[in-house]
Structure formats: C-alpha cells, structure tokens
C-alpha cells in the first residue's frame, strides 16, 4: 500500500498502475491505484478471466461482502460456484472504477501535493475507466478477457471494452444500459449534481480538507436518481399511497407517505458509503458517453466486423435505460455483422431488476457464457 492512500481503505486489495494514465480530457494521472477483488482461480493459460464492471454506486465487492463496511455483495445471485458466472469455471475480477471512492484513485484520493484532489481531479470518461482497467489487467499479466460483464454504467464499460480492445475481449455482456446517455439521463443526473453543489457543506468541492461532508445534497441526489431505478409499478406495489406509521396525513412536511420515508432512507444510507465528488465525476463520465459519436453517429460502424460475441439484456419496466436503448445497441450490432444475442426480460422491477431475482435472465446468461466458454476451450 502506498503511503498516501486513505487509511480507512487499508483492508482493500489495491494495485498501482505502473504507467501514468492518459485521459480523454488531455491530462495525465500518475500513480493510479486500482482497488479490486477476485473469486475463482485462473486456469493455466488465463483464458477464463471475467471482468465485472459495476454501476454508478457499486464497487468491487460484487460477490463477497465489503470487509470495511460489512455491506453485502451486490451480485451474489449471479456470481458464485455453480451460478451463471460460475467461479468454479471462471476467474472473476471486479475493480472499483477510476473516479470511484472504494479504493481506486478518485477525487477523494490525495493529489501529489498530499491533499485530496476534490474538484482538481480531472474530468474522466467511461473510456478512461476502461483504459485504467486495461492497464490493470495487463499489470496482472492477463492478455485478454473471456468476458466483460456489467449492468447500467457497467454495461457502458462492457461496450467500451469491445470498442476499444476488440482483440482483447472474447465476449461482452452489456445489461440494462445505453450506448449514449439520453437527454433524460443527463437531466436526472444534473439534478443530482446541482443538489450536491448547492449544499453549503460541499465547500466548492473542498469539503474533505475542511472536515465537512455535503450529506444533504448527496442524499437528495441519490433520492432523485433512485426514483429512476424503480418502476412506477414497483413503487405502487410496494407503497402505493400508504402512510408511514400513522393513521392520517399530518398536515406537515414530515414523511407522511411510505414512499417518502423509503426515499429518505435510500438517501441517508447512501451518504455513509459514497463520496459526493465521486458522484459528480462518475455521473459526468456517463453523461459524456456516446459511443456512436466516434463514427459520425453510426453506432454500427464502431463495431463493424467485430470478433466479439455480445449478449445484451434489458428489462421491460426499466425507464432509466429502457429496452429501446438496449435494442438500439442490438440493432447496431446486427448491422455490424456481430454475433449478438438479445433478451428483454418481462419484469415490473424497473432498472434495478438486473440485480434482482429474474430466473430467465440468469439461465440465459449462464447459457451464453457456457457456450462461449466451450468455443474458447474453457
């Protein structure tokens, strides 16, 4: 562990990239640290490596609990022995993204001057996150990945991997994602960023140096975003207009409704585990994501004759990255001549369905990985 790492992350596995990382914005980051976790064993020729890419507020603890916080794994339904991402067969690695706040270099990390970067951290892109992952994989001595799998922002990384390094990734599994952030996506995340920056405790981004945390702003950002992660049907099923611990409305601005209480809880529980500046940077990276912009708006041209096998999933009630956004990816891949599978799962659980119990999805993912593994001789 380098000396300048935040002390609270000492239980994390961290690798420092051997080379400086060149960023899309033109700047270069030195001594980039990548926090990671892994499960299962690599085979003799390391052809069985799967990289799991996490979503906006996820981390590297996809399949085992976070040792610092005790927070449970976020994808235990899918990763493990005998599961779709079978750790008896595959060597599974997850990293915390560049700009994140679970041990990988981000705005809460110390800059070379020994003080936290804060808003001095350069604005990063999904492309930068993947370049960091590629450097990390290379540093581990791994030439290519059997699969890159991720939901939501993780799906953007899965697509970015295939676009950036088609020769280094055998399969790509983008789930509930988009190849370009829509105006609606940008709008919702802008509300979140403005909430953070309007909190006086944000201190122009220098809150860490001043011993403060913009918790109220970050909680509101989380509340606004969380609405987009659940479907209207799920909110109705869970809460409808139910009242919270009371018989009638209070004629005040207390959390009368269960849905208010739920959202407040979502907001408050989030601020303990996430850095506000990280939220600004990572949402910005998603806003800047538009793969088609690299080929004059034609997404198919980005993947023309790609050797990568794709498997795209969407969920019918997802209005954050709706089925149409995923179908657009699929249609581009078909036009590009790529081998692609696509499945829209019927679910009323909204965007978060990709993390929840959906047996058809889990079996289809297992089938795709298993047949791909046979092709690769795993």
């Amino acid at each position: 562990m380098p000396d300048n790492a935040p002390p609270q992350t000492s239980a994390l596995r961290v690798l420092t990239l051997p080379e400086p990382l060149k960023l899309d914005c033109g700047e270069t980051l030195d001594h980039v640290e990548i926090a990671y976790e892994s499960w299962g064993e690599p085979n003799a020729n390391r052809s069985n490596v799967i990289l799991i890419c996490h979503a906006l507020t996820g981390d590297q603890f996809a399949a085992s609990p976070n040792p610092l916080t005790g927070r449970p794994a976020w994808w235990p339904r899918v990763i493990g022995p005998g599961l779709a991402i079978d750790t008896d067969r595959y060597h599974v690695i997850a990293t915390n993204v560049l700009g994140g706040c679970m041990g990988t270099t981000g705005p809460a990390s110390n800059a070379p001057d020994g003080k936290p970067y804060g808003t001095r951290f350069p604005v990063i892109t999904i492309g930068d996150m993947v370049r960091a992952q590629r450097a990390f994989i290379a540093a581990l001595g791994i030439d290519s990945l059997f699969s890159v799998i991720g939901g939501s922002m993780g799906g953007m990384q899965a697509l970015e991997w295939a676009a950036q390094a088609p020769g280094q990734v055998f399969t790509s599994v983008p789930i509930a994602t988009s190849a370009r952030h829509s105006a609606q996506n940008i709008a919702f995340y802008e509300v979140g960023r403005q909430a953070i920056m309007a909190d006086p405790d944000w201190c122009e981004g220098n809150y860490l140096a001043q011993g403060k945390r913009p918790s109220r702003g970050l909680a509101i950002a989380r509340m606004a975003a969380h609405i987009t992660y659940v479907s209207e049907g799920a909110l109705k099923r869970k809460f409808d207009r139910g009242l919270q611990d009371r018989e009638k409305t209070s004629f005040s601005f207390d959390a009368d409704f269960q849905v208010e209480s739920y959202l407040r809880y979502q907001g408050h529980s989030f601020v303990d585990r996430f850095d506000a500046n990280s939220y600004l940077y990572v949402t910005r990276a998603m806003d800047y994501f538009d793969l088609s912009s690299r080929s004059e708006g034609r997404l198919a041209d980005v993947f023309r004759d790609t050797p990568v096998r794709f498997c795209v999933f969407s969920f019918s009630s997802d209005w954050h990255y709706p089925p149409e956004a995923n179908r657009e990816i699929t249609r581009a891949l078909i036009a590009a001549g790529a081998e692609v599978s696509y499945l829209d799962i019927q679910s009323d659980k909204g965007h978060d369905a990709f993390l929840l119990k959906e047996p058809i999805y889990e079996r289809a993912l297992a089938g795709f990985l298993s047949s791909s593994a046979e092709l690769r001789g795993i």
Partner: protein, 201 residues
Amino acid sequence: MVEQRTVRPDHEAIARRVRQGARVLDVGCGDGALLDLLKSTRSVDARGLELSSETAGIAMARGLSVIQGDADSDLELFPDDSFEVAILSQAVQQMRRPARVLGELARIAPEVIVSFRNYGLWSRRLTLIRHGRMPAPGLAHEDGVLLPVTALDMIELAGRLGLACVAVAPVRGGEVGAFRNKGLKRLNWGADEVILHLRRM
C-alpha cells in the same frame, strides 16, 4: 441443461437440407429445438430470431445465439448475404407481412427453407366448401388464425421474390415424404404441411 426432447421429423428433414458448417438464421426459432439439432448434427453456425421473451430465454439458456426481436421489422438490419441458409419453420403464417419477410430472407441468404401448414389439403378445401367454415385453427385458437396459404401460393410468391423452388416435401400425419420438384398439384392436394427448399435465382 434443457432436457432432451424427441426430435421432430420435420426438423430432421430440414436439417438434412442444410450443409455441414453453414451459417444459419432460424426466424421464429421458438425454444431453439431446430437450431440445437442443426448445431449437433450439422455443426452449423446457428443464430435465431424469436419474438417471445420466454421462448427466446429458453433458447439462450441452452447456449444458442438468439435475438429477441420482430421478424417484421428487424430482418432489414441484417447485411446482405450474412447467412448461407435462412429458415422459417412453422413461422411464416404468424407474420404480419409474410411477403416482406420472405423477401428479406432472400436478401440475407441465398437459400431459404420454409415450412408451413398447407391450406391446399383436400380436407381443408372441403371444410370451407361443405360447411362454410375456415379450417382449424379457428378464431378461438390461442395462436390466433394462421395465414391460410397453400403450397402453390407460397411457391408462386417465392418466384416473384426471386426464389426458385429447389424441392418440396409433404408432411402427412407427422411423417415427412421425399423431397421432389414435380407433381406439385398433387402434393398441394395431399400434404398437411409442406417444407419448401428455395434458392435465389
């Protein structure tokens, strides 16, 4: 793993018409039974297109490469000649625009195999004449009404779309007869279902 099912005779007959190792697109592939057979007996590079999420999910679970999509709108995306063989097995009669679908298949692959219920069958003709009723499946059937088409209709349509009939096989009582390219009127009279092997002219 999906349990082994008995192989349907019409699937076997279709598989025998497909070259070893060919790139095959099965449109309306359902749960992937035919693609699975083609993979195991013909080592084809198998792809499927299926409208239903549930059956597409089953096909994917058995390791098949399947796109959940609508043949009526998604086929236009596939590049010219991206496959060697395109198959429409018991699917063309559920399409909204069968002529357009068949035309797209002729563009995507030089060979097209189509199987469907033959409304030229004598007993179906009699049902309409004697009782004034459409042959089954009727309006109340859960799959809805199938497009009533005869073997001769389909051969004529294929011809207009630039697809010549290489051979036809009749299916009666679940058994597949020999492929032939003559006596089509008789076949149209006697076949419950037909399998058409078409090739771009």
